[in-house]
Symmetry: C2
Subunit: 209 residues, 2 copies
């Protein structure tokens, strides 16, 4: 029984992602619609994978640390995108720096434009194979694609206060046991990898009843 | 067009597994029936994960090397077994030594009893939480469960020649880019993880036409 008469918040799925993460691309492109069709809310949780990997003792992505894993991952990614009907071009740079768009994503995490912003940055990275960490690229997405006050948002995203907020969010990820992306949480229950997105959505939907 | 009038061998899926591997358990329990229902042949390829991991620079399983990954894996395994309708008990020892049953599996890889043997050893490990590397345990499976000449098979499995054959098979795995188990091959196309078993079966089925 609810403790107050306020309407209960819809059940939520937390989506932890980095724009540098190829498997996060697969989830990012469909999570908003998949959640909406189940009347679930997405909590967008951008994080920096670099510090997450360093906390595990890796200098870089496991796909770089272990080339045999990397070689396989690119083949798997192409197949997974084909299955999902998503465009795919293997990035010519990997891992790409994603700091600026992640800062903007954290700034907009509770704004109505977060889904469209995330998908557009992911497409620039994994469909168009373009740099995503340039101010000009991010400004164009905010201004031209989303009709937002780009300069104001970019200034806010790069303030010392907001830079620290992204570091804190990444520390929270490490403390909660995240070791890669995408990772989903439904309450305290963690699901790792795009292959578990449907399970995470199903778990969140259970909380609706 | 076939080069001779000999009937073509049915298309095959190679199944690389170790009895120590929890995700191999999920695949082992269903691959034979899933393949048969698509008129595919399973090529059973036991391997030693230890040398595979050492080739990647790890001292042990990644689930031991990185406890946060291990903690998550056990939760994921319990959920995956529940989804698959499989019994599950978290092994009290991990990773369990699996050398003797792997040697027997290699010996029987082309015998009609390989599927039943593999499933029985997996059940002893992941359902009954018992040691699988004891001669008494393996003998009982061969003799009582499968009605085979256990002592003869155990002697053959432990001959120097056969011990070397398992090492060679493991070296082949490393050379083909295997970095974990289960791994499936359809021709030269590799699929890693129980999550890709259905994709591998679908790929093998394509070769049937």
């Amino acid at each position: 029984m609810p403790a107050s008469d306020a309407p209960a918040a819809p059940p939520a799925i937390e989506f932890w992602f980095d724009f540098s993460s190829p498997y996060s691309y697969l989830s990012a492109m469909r999570i908003e619609q998949a959640a909406a069709s189940r009347r679930l809310q997405v909590r967008w949780r951008p994080l920096l994978l670099g510090p997450v990997f360093r906390a595990l003792g890796w200098k870089s992505s496991p796909f770089v640390e272990h080339p045999v894993k990397g070689d396989y991952m690119w083949k798997d990614l192409a197949r997974e995108c084909h299955k999902a009907g998503l465009p795919w071009r293997r990035p010519s740079v990997f891992p790409r720096t994603s700091l600026l768009p992640l800062r903007v994503a954290l700034l907009g995490a509770e704004q109505p434009w977060i889904g469209a912003f995330t998908r557009r940055i992911m497409s620039i990275h994994f469909e168009e194979d373009r740099d995503i960490d340039e101010a000009g690229v991010v400004r164009e997405v905010l201004q031209e694609d989303l009709g937002l006050p780009a300069d104001t948002l970019l200034d806010a995203a790069q303030s010392p206060h907001h830079k620290a907020a992204l570091r804190r969010q990444t520390e929270e990820a490490v403390q909660r046991g995240i070791f890669g992306a995408p990772t989903f949480f439904v309450g305290d229950t963690m699901f790792w990898g795009n292959d578990r997105l449907d399970d995470a959505l199903a778990e969140a939907a259970l909380h609706q009843r």
